[in-house]
């Protein structure tokens, strides 16, 4: 009996979806637009994240060693830093690599190159390039290296300079900016999700309002609440799934069109590449959120008319 009921509920839901014509078309249109806006926010958030990530990757703290520092001491310092939970990456640059990099960077500046030639020894010391997981964590790394207790330790005596304190203001500002943009984009996302839920709920509520007489008749012929409600829930899921597919398909030409623009604006992040690489994720977000929204809205909207 339960299978017969499931079969009937599914059939009724699908048939109503198909026969409701104008109401179905209007609901799908509104839901497609809403899901498209929601999907656009996901894209925007991803673009913003990628851009901030790029900026973050350009920020680092350098630890310069004294010229007479032993390699073993420097490796000990490197390993201590790498063990910190805040640290994403530590790169050791030897004196020779530092000189090579310096020469390459100034290959067009004959004056500097001549000055280097006149020196007998390599004037550059080895150094570490440290990248933190978050920009806000540089201060604690610098404190670890530069604090009184730390400096008192013998292994840090080989450190000549930590450049965090010179760049502190710029790093702090950038850190605040990234944090603000993150918070703002999250808040906007939440606001739009709430607006989307309300729009979808109202659209489906209107669609079901047109069927309120039908629902009362169904009650009067003795249909159970579940038997009345579930076909509407199936119909709501259909609205969501079809709208999700439409929104997903619509993103294809739109992301192709916007791709070059986003690449310039967000720096090496092409929205079409993101769409292609994250298609399954976008598919899940749009289809599942559409289906869940449709089902939940239908469930709540029908409930109102079942109270006789």
């Amino acid at each position: 009996m339960i299978w017969t009921s499931i079969k009937r509920v599914l059939r009724t839901g699908f048939v109503s979806f198909w026969r409701n014509g104008f109401v179905t078309a209007a609901s799908i249109l509104v839901m497609t637009v809403t899901l498209f806006v929601l999907g656009s926010l996901v894209f925007l958030d991803a673009m913003l994240d990628a851009s901030l990530g790029q900026i973050q990757s350009k920020v680092d703290v350098n630890v310069y060693f004294t010229l007479d520092a032993e390699e073993a001491e420097m490796f000990e310092v490197r390993d201590s830093i790498a063990a910190l939970p805040e640290v994403a990456e530590v790169e050791y640059v030897s004196k020779e690599e530092a000189l090579e990099e310096f020469t390459r960077r100034h290959e067009d500046d004959q004056l500097i190159l001549q000055a280097l030639d006149e020196l007998d020894d390599n004037p550059l010391g080895a150094h570490l390039n440290i990248r933190a997981k978050e920009t806000s964590q540089y201060e604690s790394i610098a404190n670890f290296l530069g604090g009184d207790d730390a400096l008192a330790q013998s292994k840090f005596k080989s450190i000549d300079k930590v450049n965090y304190f010179q760049n502190k203001d710029a790093i702090d500002k950038l850190s605040k900016l990234i944090s603000s943009v993150d918070t703002l984009s999250f808040a906007i996302l939440i606001i739009f999700i709430i607006i989307s839920i309300l729009i979808v709920f109202n659209t489906i509520r209107l669609a079901i309002y047109t069927a309120k007489e039908e629902i009362s008749v169904m009650k009067l012929v003795g249909a159970s609440n579940a038997y009345i409600r579930w076909p509407f829930v199936i119909e709501g899921i259909m609205y969501g799934v079809v709208s999700g597919i439409f929104a997903l398909v619509l993103f294809y030409p739109v992301t192709i069109w916007l791709g070059p623009f986003t690449e310039n604006f967000f720096g090496a992040t092409n929205v079409f590449d993101y769409y292609v690489n994250n298609f399954s994720q976008m598919f899940l977000i749009l289809i599942v959120s559409g289906a869940v929204l449709g089902a939940l809205s239908s469930y709540l909207a029908v409930k109102k008319y079942l109270r006789i």
Binding site: T4, R19, E214, V221, G222, A223, S224
Partner: protein
Amino acid sequence: MSDDNKGSSHQTGPLINVNNVKKIYLDELSALDGVSLKVHPKEFVSIVGHSGAGKTTLLKMILAEEFPTEGDVFFADMKIHDLNKKEMNLYRRRIGMVFQDFRLLPNKTAFENIAFAMEAAGRGDEDIASDVPHVLDLVDLGDKIWNFPNELSGGEKQRLAIARAIVNQPDVVIADEPTGNLDPINTHDIVQILKKINDLGTTVILTTHNKGVIDSLDHRVVTMENGKIVRDDSHGKYII
């Protein structure tokens, strides 16, 4: 609700017992004022009265669409306003309802409208496939089985509504102004169908304004005025 007292054929007392029911809306508007009415199995009862006399409110009480302010309604000794949701669904399946405005499901064909009532009553697919065409034949709609309600005339819509009302073999058919929107020929047809249903053993309660219908029936007539029953004649005429 047990199956033991389900059928009206074994019912010895009244099938429907409306006991001193009052219905007051918004603390002052009295729609029913101490109405008592007993309807026995296989009876054909017509309820007449002006608009606002309380006929439809009385039917809503019997259908449990409305709750009385005072008094009780019993159906086969069950106090219907005390039934839980599941019992209420089972109870409503024992009543076939016909409305003036038909209240068909617009997006379902004639077949599906009737099949829905059967599905709601838990009937199987085989029963539905055999009974729906049969009941449509009974109301002379055998050739309209796949038509939607908007493709039917007023009389055909009402016949379809009657077919839906009787398909689960209810104990009672309640028809609220079923001829109100129909021309005289269709009115005659609908009354004949209701008489036929009653002749086959189903209790029928009919409300109407139509004097010709009442006078031609020669059955029990209950007259209402201002929320009260003012006359109850076993072979009554339309007298207001």
